[in-house]
């Protein structure tokens, strides 16, 4: 969580600089600050050194090979990459409309007194440990999916051809829905803040022109916050891509390309966590390579999101809370 503080006035800064130079102190602070950049670099370097043997033995083609069979030295990670993308798409496709609606409600529509406590309640979803989500999804939600949600969905959307096969509860769809719940607080918290940061004169101008409440929201506030909303969307995507434990528990862990949304599948994080224990030699290197891909994508997505959210923070006055 970060709350923007008021910058101290220039006079104070000058006073600060005039103070007795205190070299050790400054070096210490610089080192503490530098740790973060150093850690990020160390992450990539450490992962890369462990991944190199995989690339030197297998080339880069295993990254899009579709056959995962470690016993016969086939290490295609494509099914897992596809599974990661599919679960993320399901999660984000649900989180964007519902998150945006929730954020609008929390920023402008809910009774004023309830806004803060309800915001906290939604944000607390982010505090629930992911392993608890996994256990809950596996024991409580999966049976509900098997008996109710999947049959209903199949009867309504079966024509799309995406919902073939038996209703089994665990699988891509359940993983996507659990991920949706997990990324919802990220989507909501940031969207709410950027929506609330839209300048009031624009809102008042639209109202003075006779726009209804919804027209103000739809035509002024949402467009005014679009860069920040893009940031929220990107951060939620990043979170969904990297989630490990909850997904590993509810996706059914299969190494094959899922023929249906109801089928078992795997994601790159679930692959790593479920096969790390038995892995050795080349397989271990492949897992490190997969982790490296995950890390690089994670860094890229987060950097992009921060640029979006930052630009809003700089133009708008509101503090941006990142859960």
């Amino acid at each position: 969580m970060s709350i923007s503080g008021s910058p101290s006035p220039g006079t104070a800064r000058r006073t600060w600089r005039l103070a007795v130079p205190d070299r050790t102190y400054r070096i210490l602070l610089g080192v503490a600050g530098g740790i973060f950049a150093a850690l990020l670099i160390a992450f990539v370097v450490a992962m890369a050194t462990q991944a190199v043997p995989a690339f030197s033995k297998l080339g880069v083609s295993f990254l899009w090979g579709s056959n995962w069979d470690p016993a016969h030295n086939h290490f295609g990670v494509l099914p897992f990459a596809v599974g990661t993308i599919e679960t993320t798409v399901i999660a984000v496709a649900l989180a964007v409309p519902i998150g945006l609606g929730t954020a609008l409600a929390l920023a402008y529509l809910a009774p004023r007194r309830l806004r803060a406590p309800l915001s906290t309640a939604v944000e607390l979803l982010a505090a629930v440990p992911s392993v608890v989500y996994g256990l809950w999804g596996l024991v409580a939600v999966a049976p509900l999916f098997r008996t109710t949600v999947e049959p209903q969905l199949t009867s309504v959307l079966g024509w799309t051809g995406l919902l073939g096969g038996p209703n089994q509860g665990v699988g891509l769809l359940l993983a996507g829905v659990i991920l949706f719940i997990m990324v919802l607080p990220t989507m909501v918290a940031i969207s709410r803040d950027v929506l609330a940061a839209v300048p009031h004169d624009q809102v008042e101008g639209a109202m003075a022109l006779g726009a209804t409440r919804w027209q103000v929201l739809r035509k002024v506030i949402v467009p005014g916050a679009r860069v920040g909303l893009l940031g929220a969307f990107t951060l939620a995507t990043g979170r969904a891509l990297g989630e490990t434990v909850a997904v590993a528990l509810v996706i059914g862990n299969s190494a094959h390309l899922a023929p249906s949304l109801k089928a078992n599948a795997g994601t790159i994080p679930s692959l790593i966590v479920s096969s790390f224990g038995e892995a050795s030699g080349t397989q271990l290197n492949v897992l490190f390579a997969a982790a490296l891909v995950l890390l690089v994508v994670g860094i890229g997505v987060n950097a992009l999101a921060r640029v979006f959210v930052r630009s809003v923070k700089r133009s708008g006055a509101a503090s941006v809370t990142v859960a």
Binding site: M1, S2, P7, A12, T15, W16, L18, A19, D22, Y25, R26, L29, G30, A32, G33, F36, A37, A46, M47, T49, Q50, P97, I98, L100, G101, T102, A105, L109, A121, V122, A127, V128, P129, S130, V131, V132, G134, L135, W136, L138, L184, G210, T212, W214, R218, L235, G242, V245, L249, P269, V273, F276, A291, L295, G298, I299, N302, A303, A305, R306
Partner: protein
């Protein structure tokens, strides 16, 4: 001066305005209904967003409370079929691992926060940026990093390796909270200290940090709430241990690890223990999280 005549039929702007007003008046009923419906949909989204929190808390409580008995809190985990198992070893493991992680991350986090609060240049921007990215990096990669630099180097899974990974997760949380807390300390206090001829480090140690202490504590609570619930980093570093182990140089058990291990097993009594542990972990984390939020809200009020 001659008077200007207002004849809307002659002035193109005014006639245009009249036309717009007519359109607006004729569409207002439809627009109002549309607005009501759309706003109801937004409020419905809010309700939908709140359902999972209520559902997960009630479900975990209903499943977890029956698992809470004396054995649960005092016995070590036992294999399937042996009664009276508990999570004492996981509770102790979590306390030790998270304790070490806090002790390691707090000094760096506070120094980093001082750095950010006292500098505004590109260096500070770079630090803030990397800390933000570090917060968003998939936690599994932090676990693998811990495995590579600690477990592989030392040659064994250990509580220290787990604490190392958890500390990396806590670090940015503490630093950002520390920055906020330190920026909130009135400039006049610093100026008073400096005008007495004190060094910057002395002012930081004797004036700024004591004044920022409540905010720093809030950050530490939040960091513990964040770190204590992480599972993925632990799976690659502490390995898990069904026996009691309080020595952090050895493989240890921790609550998230225990929940993960037992929830993927087909035995009911082990899943029962997983629910008890899930409830314990969730309650601790929610209490820490809400507590730190209340503290932060109170601080903001006092400052106003």
């Amino acid at each position: 001066m001659s008077t200007i005549s207002f004849d809307s039929s002659l002035d193109p702007i005014l006639s245009r305005r009249a036309a717009i007003q007519k359109i607006a008046a004729s569409s207002i009923a439809r627009r109002k209904v549309y607005s009501k419906v759309a706003i109801s949909v937004c409020l419905l989204c809010l309700v939908v967003a709140l359902i999972p929190l209520v559902a997960i808390i009630t479900y975990v409580a209903a499943k977890g409370i029956p698992a809470w008995n004396a054995d649960f809190f005092t016995q070590v985990t036992k294999p399937e079929g042996i009664p009276n198992g508990g999570v004492w070893n996981a509770i102790v493991g979590s306390l030790i691992i998270d304790g070490i992680a806090v002790a390691a991350s707090v000094p760096f986090g506070i120094l980093g926060g001082l750095f950010l609060a006292e500098s505004d240049g590109p260096a500070a921007a770079a630090v803030r940026f990397s800390a933000d990215i570090l917060t968003g990096v998939p936690s599994i990669t932090i676990g693998i990093f811990g495995y590579i630099v600690w477990v592989k180097t030392v040659g064994s899974y250990s509580g220290f390796a787990g604490a190392f990974a958890i500390a990396i997760i806590m670090l940015p949380v503490i630093m950002r909270a520390a920055e906020t807390a330190i920026r909130g300390v009135p400039v006049t206090l610093r100026e008073a200290g400096l005008s007495l001829g004190a060094r910057r480090s002395t002012v930081a140690r004797r004036v700024v940090l004591p004044a920022a202490l409540p905010g720093l504590l809030t950050g530490v609570l939040l960091a513990v709430a964040r770190g204590a619930g992480e599972t993925a980093p632990l799976l690659f570093t502490i390995f898990g241990n069904q026996f009691f182990q309080a020595n952090p140089t050895k493989a240890m058990e921790a609550l998230p690890q225990a929940i993960y291990t037992y929830s993927s097993q087909p035995y009911n009594d082990l899943i029962q223990i997983a629910w008890g542990a899930a409830l314990l972990l969730m309650v601790v984390i929610l209490v820490l999280n809400v507590g730190s939020r209340l503290m932060a809200a109170r601080l903001r009020r006092e400052r106003r």
